[in-house]
């Protein structure tokens, strides 16, 4: 079947559409060129890029120091528990109650440690992406589907459910 030219009115519409598409492509092309220039300008010694590995090291050091401090607090609590066992009933109760509160409070180290680990992982992902972008290698590392692995915690206040709501699921 021979090709037939579109009617004049349709051809006019097509020309407008093509022009619009060309304009969009031109804008996209400029955005990509700008982005390439930005990436090319990144250097490992740029302070904002160079600080990322340092920042992750600092955060790891925070986890380590808080763990060490928590162990020292726990050492002291355990020493106090041996004293509590030797004193009179009323004083022992007061001491024991205070020690329990300290144990409860010390669980902060676990929670803060997990939160910091999430930040470190995010920073390392940014670091890897920047390195790959600079090499011109497409980033083929799939994003970790946190929701799929069910490893999302600790949740920020309001994002998780309460202990009482969990209890209701077990009643």
């Amino acid at each position: 079947m021979p090709d037939q030219a579109p009617p004049v009115a349709i051809r006019g519409d097509l020309d407008t559409t093509v022009q619009s598409l060309m304009s969009e492509l031109d804008a996209l092309s400029r955005i990509i060129a700008d982005a390439r220039q930005e990436v090319a300008a990144l250097r490992a010694d740029d302070s904002d890029v160079a600080d990322i590995p340092g920042a992750t090291d600092e955060l790891a050091a925070i986890v380590s120091h808080t763990a060490q401090a928590t162990h020292e607090i726990l050492d002291s609590c355990e020493a106090l528990e041996t004293v509590a066992a030797r004193v009179g009933d009323v004083d022992a109760d007061v001491l024991q109650h205070a020690i329990t509160r300290i144990y409860e409070a010390c669980s902060f180290q676990d929670i803060t440690g997990q939160r910091i680990a999430k930040v470190v992982a995010a920073l390392q992902a940014v670091e890897r992406r920047i390195a790959r972008a600079r090499q011109g290698i497409p980033d083929r590392i799939p994003a970790i589907a946190a929701a799929a692995t069910l490893l999302n915690g600790p949740q920020l206040p309001g994002n998780g459910i309460s202990q009482s709501a969990i209890d209701a699921l077990f009643d």
Partner: protein
């Protein structure tokens, strides 16, 4: 029903401070026979080798998570009825539902207090 406080309790957490805190809190409520593991694999090996009456496990551990440990425990003919409490910072509904579907006995969100820990242990052991 009385609770056997001489039973062995395995505390599983990759944060050494947390295992220490939980073991100290268990000692306060007279569970003196405790042991610890830092991930699911180590825990499973200890559970298969020893005679434990209760597991208190974190969820977020590598390489084997607490949920994977729970599934392994429930799939093991000798361990499948072992009371298993998840103590975790994972507080999304889907986490609790997944743990419950896998057969968890109870679920505690971190940070928790001593009273909550005692309450859940007693509840689980009374129904065991």
């Amino acid at each position: 029903m009385t609770i056997d406080r001489n039973m062995k309790v395995l505390v599983v957490d990759d944060y050494k401070t947390m295992t220490r805190i939980i073991r100290n809190l268990l000692k306060q409520i007279e569970f003196n026979e405790t042991d610890e593991a830092s991930d699911g694999h180590e825990a499973l090996a200890k559970l298969r080798a020893g005679n434990f009456g209760l597991v208190i496990s974190d969820w977020n551990m590598q390489p084997m998570t607490g949920l994977d440990l729970l599934k392994e425990v429930r799939a093991d003919a000798r361990l499948k009825h072992l009371p298993f409490i998840m103590v975790t910072a994972e507080s999304k509904t889907e986490n609790v539902v997944a743990a419950k579907q896998a057969g968890v006995s109870n679920y505690i969100v971190k940070p928790f207090n001593a009273e909550t820990l005692r309450d859940k242990i007693e509840k689980v052991l009374v129904h065991a």
